[in-house]
Symmetry: C2
Subunit: 363 residues, 2 copies
């Protein structure tokens, strides 16, 4: 398959026996072309697979592409969103020669008002693309549907039904939950008994899927009992401790605990206070607090969603779609990356760039 040079607008014009102006008018639907000529040109464009040269186009247009990221405050979810921002920032820097500009729009993920105020502050006229996390699902969907359909958007972290993103970036939550089960079982040396999964109270679809994956691991295993508990509010010490007390009263000797999101550090800390730090515990996301407890041995495994990678990919794929008009994969998978105590960097590292510097070569 010989790779041949891309055909130019000038060559199309020559073949059609018209000027480049006419071809351009066809290409951009600017009218003022006879049906006959239009069809001839359209046929040629198709036949030779004409694609406008993105460099020349950009040079001429000098267009700035303005992307917005709409996400929870960077310090919410134990700092998880801040880690996403780092990847976005890096992509923005790399792509700045191509006119990419990014604005960060943050809201309080527990306040509808905050969501709407922030969302509404994004002017559709000035927006060439959106990076979205599937937070506040019902509100988010409503907002997306009232947006001009010309605005492309990508989802990271997961996706939402009834929407048509350019691409979805995210990790398979089912596999993650399954793996959590498997690792928990190993850490408990395959002891029979009850294994708990603590679910935050959340409408998140992918947290549900993590739990399904976890349960799937235990299905058909004789003598093992998975137990799902939903905590109404992980963020406040009182509710959390009460929740855990009840849990431990019901199940005095859990063989392992899986916390299906980043708040695993609160669970581990509470457990530690009750001298129960021997119970294997697995959770999500290498946020600073979790990292500390992993290092101290109070958490056994963390599943990373590679937030910086996701942020980077979100920007890059949006750029590929909007600027280069290239075809984008409908789904960008994120590898399930496991952190144990032993594959953390030895020194306290700048957590900002943690994901980037995570693995070092020996010298």
């Amino acid at each position: 398959m010989k790779r041949t040079r891309q055909i130019t607008i000038r060559e199309i014009a020559a073949k059609a026996g018209v000027s480049i102006g006419t071809v351009d008018r066809v290409l951009h639907n600017r009218g003022r072309v006879s049906t006959e000529t239009r069809e001839k040109i359209e046929a040629l464009v198709k036949k030779f697979g004409y694609k406008p040269n993105p460099l020349a186009r950009h040079l001429k247009l000098k267009k700035e592409y303005h992307f917005f990221i709409l996400s929870p405050y960077r310090d919410e979810d134990s700092g998880y969103w801040g880690m996403v921002f780092n990847g976005i920032q890096r992509a923005a820097e790399e792509l700045s020669p191509f006119g990419i500009r990014i604005s960060f729009k943050e809201f309080d993920r527990y306040s509808r008002d905050s969501f709407w105020n922030t969302a509404r502050s994004i002017s559709p006229d000035d927006c060439d693309g959106l990076l979205l996390a599937p937070i506040m699902p019902s509100e988010m969907i409503r907002w997306i549907l009232e947006l001009p359909p010309s605005i492309p958007y990508v989802f990271f972290d997961a996706t939402l039904p009834e929407t048509s993103p350019i691409t979805e970036i995210g990790q398979d939550p089912y596999s993650g939950g399954f793996l959590a089960g498997k690792l928990l079982c190993l850490f408990a040396l395959r002891e029979r008994g009850t294994y708990c999964v603590i679910a935050p109270h959340s409408e998140d679809y992918h947290i549900k899927r993590r739990i399904e994956g976890f349960l799937a691991f235990w299905a058909n295993r004789e003598g093992y009992w998975p137990e799902v508990r939903t905590c109404a509010d992980m963020d406040h010490r009182e509710t959390r401790e009460e929740f855990l007390n009840t849990l431990l009263k019901d199940i005095p000797d859990p063989k392992g605990i899986f916390v299906a999101n980043a708040s695993v550090h609160s669970v581990a800390e509470t457990l530690n206070k009750g001298n129960l730090s021997h119970i294997p515990i697995i959770g999500y996301d290498l946020v600073p607090e979790n990292e500390r407890l992993l290092r101290e041995g109070l958490i056994d495994v963390l599943i990373s969603q590679r937030p910086a990678y996701q942020g980077y990919q979100a920007v890059y794929q949006l750029y590929r779609h909007v600027v280069l008009q290239q075809e984008i994969q409908k789904k960008i998978p994120v590898p399930i990356h496991l952190y144990f105590k032993e594959n953390l960097l030895p020194e306290s590292s700048p957590d900002l760039e943690y994901e980037e510097t995570m693995f070092v070569f020996a010298d």
Copy 2:
């Protein structure tokens, strides 16, 4: 920090009171400029941080950038290199609008002649960048040193001393080995005894580091005995079986086995024939044969080096350096990605794009 538009050559020229031609001559060291003028221009360039617009430059030059990948035959190392090629191919397609072209140069990794013939077939005049794997270290270094120093190159998979690559892409082998130890220990339910690591006979520095990491895990653990064995030739059944027979005579009841490269499938298969499939076994790389045995339960864990990702990154970073003249990180870390039987795709999938489609969302 207000982001302001990049200054253009025309503006520099105006400020210096000369024509753009003169500025261009300074920028490209084409001479024919008085020292006085040159210095004035150089000062202005520095002051305003002038960077040539990569799009305009490319548009004018219509330059094709020709990169070469010099690697072992794509089916060597159980098909590992072929997986790298897939990532390279994808990057090449994405970057083709920017004039990136890639040629694959393959050699037999066990033949010096093959190496030299292939390496010598790359004409330095036609080469704008190289993708290299640190195979045949001493030869490779010699070849690199006799190359014109103007040719940039990146290493993937690992790196080599005495060279100055643009960047090094690779996984921390020490962490990988350490993790292999940890997981093996868990799979053996922490039973005391001897744990083996099988090392291929290889000059590869990063295989040595994997072993060091593995040994580091066992250090100071009472009652656990790590045992390193080097196999002269993993590729031939006879040598392999003799090697394993000797090993099992010396160590009749190993608690677990770590194979420090992709040939873990041969070990697992031989073990299976001897009815020893209960021994936990961990190895490297999700090549087709390994995938099959993982699926069948004859291998317990595979550490993936994400070859497609590495190939993709190698091309992309080279492009960023050569075409965009952007600053590149000196090291691109590759996450340690673990595959268990359970996080493989259920159906037989096209192994070509395995790494890309690995994780699926539920629908």
